[in-house]
Symmetry: D2
């Protein structure tokens, strides 16, 4: 059965028709305003109607950045869109002409599900997905099922605590994993190294145009790929935190594969090798089970569309 | 359907017939020798045969302390019994007269399942069980299903890392949760406090007969219940680590209830109150979901029998 | 012998004549511009000349916020004034009419020395001074002598590391004591608690006018003095870090008294009691020596003048 | 002036005549019994009398492992000898024929002083000595003076806390530096790595004769010198903790040189290089002062004799 997936961001939406193999057959985009929730409803419905006019679809999945109600109909809270206990499926459904079920999913869960079904996790039954971007998001699959939790708030991996008394997080707590395993952490550490170790940071400072505060993650990756020792160390440190935190999750869930998504994946082996080494070093019950694989995600930005569509038709 | 559950320990086994309400209708015990695996097979089969002679049963569940194969037939490794890749279900099955399926489960999983089905978690769909004994064991239920992991090694909660560079664990790693949230940790902290703060530890030292190394967990609980400030602090510290670690698990799994089993539960509110406070303080997404309840387990030592029996007949 | 002390800040200087009992007999102030170092020289000299016209003085001490050269003549670096390897004593000396020695001291050292000679440390030979303000500064006295270090950079107490992987510091490192034991840390923790524990933070939020980012340290003290549980906890946490870090210093230096200066002292026992308890709990060799006293500083803003004057005439 | 130094251990004493250049001109040894304090007095006096018969000496210094009274006459407490508030100088003095002053010093202080006067610190005014043996001891020199502290308990460097919630120490506290920067820590980490990473630990296990618990520090050094990656990592980790902790001390005291004594010095650059790198990475105010040198001690077991003699004649 074909299905439509819609990825709803703060300023734009992307929708696509997804076939049984996870391929996007057609897609459309719309610009939106994060404060105009009715406008978002209309734009989503419009995109769905346009796609459904040309394709026979059996379900619609909406990927939303926020806490989704356990019955998958509403967004209880979203950090970047003005949804509060908002019955999104019902609102959009009222504007969609086709008579198909509409399901809401958390966007990180949708993206993780795309990897599980059609990407780096497709041969696994138990998977941890980590999306290492500005923050650290993720998705968890156990025994072939997506873990949503009792109240739809599962897979907030970035807020597991890894350092008591550690860096503050926007969530108000200290030592969240996100503060050590994210693009923001990489940039923060890079900027700090310019202050603490100016001699070693010459190349980074140069790439940042001489302004430590302008240093960006891709510049660190570029420097590392060019052989800069400090940049390599910064990426290795990020990889180490990914691997060590994953070992804690593995103690709890014993996954078969850990999939790393997000922009930092561009660093490739400079990130993966230390991540795998740290994971192996920290894994409990080593020797009594194989080590989970740590792999890069295969899908990019379209993962939300694919995963939302597939979850809707399950 | 009635089923038999068998809890296989290092020096004794306990078996019982369990009805659909989780009640034990009849039970037997056998002494065993941890190094004599054939003798254990025979004792288990003998107990099953005895119970099956008087009761009609549809399945047999064996609860074993060790890593159980994902197909639930073998014990891959056990710390205290000489099982190595041992096909326990087949071995016992060859000696059991009744023609019923025999299933092997990890003992902590079995005990957790008993709480989920017939105890403190019976109204939940998502549960974390923590067994706070000498070590820290546990079980995880997600969406009504027991989480075993890809290789049967899930729910090793005690080996999630909570303090980088923290106390060494018998597993060879530093900072495992078990080193902060277990009866052993309580005793270790109590004994250390006698050295570091002799004036405050007078009551504890008295209960230990004047020998710091003889201090036991129940003595700390006794002192706390009698109002001793240091003992109350020690239990509060244990509770705090239970609560803080649980908040990390909740970030990942969003459970409805966290069930605390094991001997330290005797401390009651002296343990639960600080555990709940710490959990609430550390929980991410507070305000976007209800707080999981933290409750004491309702079953005692017989939980393994009940859970193994019930898992076998599922 | 009377001496003149001058406390040179970024935007103003304060100078005074100090007698042998540490009393200020006369004082003057001048406004300055942090970027105009020659102007600062002139203002300092002018203040000295004015005071010296009416008082017989034997020495002049200049307290400067920065790294002072070991020979006490120059400021090697200052964070807030444009001094770089600046021969301050010589520059000022050229403009001072009286023929007296001019000595430069770090301002925190000068303030600590005032406490040692005429304040909370006056009966001690070994003292640790902690100035808990926006940051965490200090001074160290060993065997009656101020500790300046080989290169004049001693007593940077705020940059001892207390948490590996902890909060970033402006110095580019993680986990500096200053990030846990300062007014800034108190405010940061208070603001975070409003996010993480909104229900408990109602009173703090009210005092901050409803804007978490506007919460100030004195408001936390006010709330605590009014009985607010969260505010009391925040101050206790600050006190705990002061006490625990001090215990590490005491392991190294075995001081007789630890003097707490800076604005947070206004919290009085709400800060001191947890500081003392944490110090006693963490102190090594307890029982083999008395515990150092932890006391509030007795001098306020004029400590720099008094200490600089007294150090100059030693 | 020549002086006699006596190093008093639990089971033997070593005494020597020390000249003005720190050379030992003659030496004697005696065996003793740690529980027989009168016997120790007699043995010490006997050794002193023997040496003084042939050499003109002006003072006698006794190096004792324990807390020494600030007036340098008594041992207040010793962990390995039955001294409790014991007036050692008076007791020994009553048995010594020569009429010379007798002074008691802590043994680590005496050894550190020998390095300061005649060893790796001889050109410095401010020195931190770290003796990395079974534990972590040390000595501190500030402005040319040995730091004894108010109650003679200074320089207990091993009990500065470096990891909150870290490894327990025999002193009853958690996270003491000694638990990370000592030979015992090296051995503990090595033994743990055999459990956690058996594949990488093959060489270490071989050197330990197949018994993880038999692994010794010198075997780790041997393996590292032979190129074993895990052993190199273990020593680098030890070096890192030495360097990072030293950076905290340097924030407080700004020493010119940090001298590393004790058995692990045999690892040479395998230890020093990571120690120096970590020190530079963690040092505050980098760029505003030179980096302290980190050097190996030049004296061996005789440092206590030399330092005690020299301190006695000062």
């Amino acid at each position: 059965m074909h299905a439509i997936g819609v990825d709803i961001g703060g300023t734009k939406i992307a929708a696509g028709v997804v076939d049984d193999e996870g391929r996007i057959l057609a897609s459309v985009r719309r610009e939106t305003d994060a404060d105009d929730v009715a406008g978002i409803d209309a734009a989503v419905a419009d995109a769905v109607n346009e796609l459904a006019a040309d394709h026979e679809v059996g379900a619609v999945g909406l990927a939303a950045a926020g806490f989704v109600s356990p019955d998958r109909t509403a967004v209880n809270f979203a950090p970047n869109i003005a949804w509060r206990e908002y019955p999104l499926a019902e609102k959009v459904g009222a504007l969609v002409r086709a008579d198909v079920p509409i399901v809401v999913e958390n966007d990180a869960n949708a993206a993780g599900w795309a990897e599980f079904r059609y990407g780096a996790g497709r041969e696994a039954t138990d998977m941890l997905m980590l999306t290492v971007g500005t923050g650290l998001g993720g998705a968890v699959v156990v025994g072939g099922n997506l873990v949503r939790g009792k109240w739809g708030a599962a897979a907030e991996v970035g807020h597991m605590r890894v350092v008591p008394g550690g860096h503050y997080c926007g969530c108000g707590h200290e030592g969240c994993w996100e503060q050590y395993a994210s693009g923001s952490a990489l940039v923060r550490d890079g900027q700090a190294s310019v202050v603490a170790q100016p001699a070693r940071a010459a190349r980074l400072l140069e790439l940042a145009g001489g302004v430590p505060g302008d240093l960006q993650g891709p510049q660190i990756t570029e420097a590392a790929q060019g052989g800069d020792a400090l940049a390599i160390e910064l990426l290795a440190n990020l990889g180490r935190w990914i691997g060590e935190g994953s070992a804690s999750v593995a103690a709890l869930l014993d996954p078969e594969v850990i999939v790393i998504g997000g922009g930092v994946g561009a660093a490739g082996d400079l990130l993966l090798r230390p991540a795998r080494a740290a994971f192996a070093e920290q894994l409990s019950a080593l020797g009594h089970r194989p080590e989970a694989r740590i792999e890069l995600a295969e899908h990019g930005n379209e993962a939300g569309i694919v995963g939302a569509a597939d979850l809707a038709r399950q």
